[in-house]
């Protein structure tokens, strides 16, 4: 009949011998073990290891904390008034983030916070070695969450058959590190069109509508830059990253304003030029850190991520992780 009844038939010991043959064959072949702390099998970029926070992108909109099924995200902050800058501008209020913490003892690693964040402030990192002996230390505060940004990997390119609508991928804002370090210099900015038409929130428009409209404008910018890049012959991934960066810059450039900005003011290349160094110096920092990391024997991807983080810190003028 079928091979089931064949298997059930009496075989008088030949089955035992076959089994011994199988184990012997395996004994003389090479083991498949990965000796974990010594060798680390690479994890894919989507791996949900730990959530990293890009603090400067956070606007304290509280979406992540509200959507979290476990309510394990703690956000605290206050409003500050900034003195008017220049003639005819009002002093304005903005949110200052005092505390952003994730309790990993509660977190169920669903990634909804990363998914809902409208400003690309949260990312998944494949890093997973942060077990603690003390449960309270599993609540990662802002510094620690920002530190994880070093380990965030660029998103994997999609399958060729994928034609779906873009949704937010867990990617750092800067171009993909597949490009040479120097490519981090914000080349596409010059080609970027001016900021979107409705930069400030007109009276009578709800906050949600405003956010939606601004997002739509950002998408326009992105599409434009993407097409330009493709026309220049860039690799689709690079084009993707650059267009995304352009979008972010466009969005952020309009963010703190309460009144419509003058029509054409391209976003300044480094988003906060005040404290940091020039782009060229920062690129040098990046190269240096990259070489150090490689010399230390780090994985090239990790080195890439760390050097990038160093460059960003240099440009921002902030101190290193934990500093």
């Amino acid at each position: 009949m079928n091979d089931e009844s064949k298997l059930k038939k009496a075989t008088f010991g030949t089955g035992l011998l076959k089994g011994l043959g199988i184990t012997m064959r395996h004994m003389v072949s090479k083991a498949v073990t990965v000796q974990y702390p010594d060798e680390i099998a690479p994890l894919p970029p989507r791996s949900r290891g730990v959530i990293a926070l890009k603090e400067e992108n956070c606007t304290m909109c509280m979406l992540c904390a509200r959507e979290c099924p476990d309510w394990c995200i703690y956000i605290e902050g206050h409003k500050e008034r900034r003195e008017s800058r220049g003639e005819g501008k009002r002093a304005k209020a903005f949110n200052v983030l005092d505390r952003f913490a994730i309790d990993y003892a509660l977190c169920m690693y669903c990634g909804i916070c990363v998914e809902v964040c409208p400003y690309d402030a949260l990312f998944w990192s494949p890093e997973f070695e942060y077990a603690e002996g003390d449960i309270t230390r599993l609540t990662h505060e802002m510094e620690r969450l920002e530190d994880w940004m070093r380990t965030v990997l660029p998103p994997s390119p999609l399958d060729d058959g994928a034609k779906g609508p873009e949704i937010k991928s867990a990617a750092p804002v800067v171009p993909a590190p597949a490009a040479a370090p120097a490519a981090a210099a914000p080349a596409p900015v010059e080609t970027a069109p001016g900021p979107p038409p409705a930069a400030g929130r007109p009276a009578g428009m709800s906050e949600a509508e405003f956010v939606e409209q601004r997002a739509a404008a950002g998408r326009l910018v992105r599409q434009k830059v993407y097409e330009e890049e493709i026309a220049k012959g860039s690799e689709p991934r690079i084009a993707e990253a650059r267009s995304k960066a352009a979008e972010m810059r466009a969005r952020k450039a309009t963010l703190p304003e309460t009144e419509p900005a003058p029509p054409v003011t391209p976003a300044p290349a480094p988003s906060r030029p005040a404290a940091g160094m020039s782009a060229a110096d920062a690129a040098a920092v990046r190269r240096k850190v990259y070489e150090e990391e490689i010399a230390k024997g780090s994985d090239p991807r990790i080195a890439e991520a760390r050097s990038k983080a160093a460059e960003l810190r240099a440009r921002k003028g902030t101190k290193g992780p934990g500093g």
Binding site: L16, G19, L20, I22, T23, M24, H26, M27, V28, S29, A31, V32, T33, Q35
Partner: protein, 334 residues
């Protein structure tokens, strides 16, 4: 036992020290066999096994395990019969170790060359079961009780084929002394020509005696946790279960090597320059490897199936074996 003492006293102090050395080497030997088992098992399962303890391929893993057991807290439940409970490791260890008194490592390298060595070896190898049964009772645990009873039932089932298979060897060699039995196999081991069936029967029964898969029902962890040793911890666990099991396994392999593979006797006359103990260790090692190989390949039988197998297959076969051996002997003489 009197004969044993007599022999020991009759020998010189140096020889006595050497012979004591054999017993003292038993514990390190269990560590080595334990390590080999870990590694062989791992590679059969396509793994690497221990790689860290002792730096080179985890050679010190069993040593580290042993040291850890020593540091562990010795837990006894309130309802435990403490005296019996504590005696068990001694009984199981002793039963396993006493076999080595009569096993020849070389022509003269034997603690006591008893005339009834084979009889003695088979007799003392059953002592461990008393320990297992006692452990099952003293633990005041239902799983332990079942494990103890399984061990006792198993003893009855495998002991007969074991003795009958050995009896055929004694007939073949015409002696119960293990040295004479080994000498009788000079250059042609019994496993190859006179007693191949007896060899297989003895191996099956010996596997049951040392409670290893496919006959490890007394300690089947998926069914009755660790059988009689469920409640044991720390040193008592290490000695009562692990050390005793490995010593028993080495002992049964050594016995089988002597009975069927010629023990210290070289396999070929041309290889006489290789000393006897080396031959003995090679043959015993091969059998130990066979036991390990079987253990990590097969599932386990059920207790009643073992009984059926022993009474309906092994015992009739060993009786046939004895009959054929006797008939051949008779034909040879006449």
């Amino acid at each position: 036992m009197v004969t044993t003492l007599h022999h020991i006293l009759a020998n010189s102090i140096v020889l006595l020290a050497l012979k004591l050395g054999i017993l003292l080497l038993l514990l390190p030997a269990t560590l080595v066999v334990g390590y080999v088992e870990l590694k062989v098992m791992a590679h059969m399962q396509h793994r690497l096994g221990p790689m860290y303890a002792g730096a080179y391929h985890g050679w010190a893993q069993t040593l580290a395990d042993g040291l850890k057991f020593i540091q562990k807290e010795d837990i006894m439940a309130a309802a435990t019969d403490r005296t019996v409970f504590s005696m068990v490791p001694y009984i199981t260890m002793l039963g396993a170790a006493l076999t080595f008194v009569v096993i020849p490592f070389s022509r003269h390298g034997v603690i006591a060359n008893l005339d009834i060595g084979l009889f003695y070896a088979l007799a003392v190898s059953s002592i461990s079961v008393i320990g297992v049964l006692a452990a099952g009772w003293a633990s005041a645990n239902k799983y332990s009780l079942m494990g103890g009873l399984r061990a006792a039932a198993q003893l009855i089932a495998y002991e007969l084929p074991l003795v009958l298979a050995a009896a055929a060897v004694a007939m073949q060699a015409g002696s119960l002394s293990l040295v004479s039995i080994a000498e009788a196999q000079r250059y042609v081991p019994f496993a190859l020509w006179a007693q191949p069936l007896g060899f297989l029967i003895f191996l099956a029964a010996a596997t049951a005696e040392v409670s290893r898969t496919p006959f490890d029902m007394p300690v089947a962890e998926a069914e009755i946790i660790t059988g009689a040793f469920t409640e044991y911890s720390a040193m008592k666990f290490a000695f009562g279960l692990f050390a005793a099991e490995y010593i028993a396994m080495i002992g049964m392999s050594a016995l089988a090597a002597t009975l069927f593979l010629g023990g210290y006797v070289p396999l070929l006359p041309q290889l006489r320059f290789v000393p006897g103990p080396v031959w003995f260790l090679i043959k015993t090692g091969l059998l130990i490897f066979l036991l390990i190989w079987i253990r990590w390949t097969f599932p386990r039988l059920r207790e009643d199936q073992l009984q059926k197998f022993a009474w309906k297959v092994l015992i009739p076969l060993s009786l046939v074996n004895i009959f054929v051996t006797g008939a051949l002997k008779l034909a040879h003489w006449t």
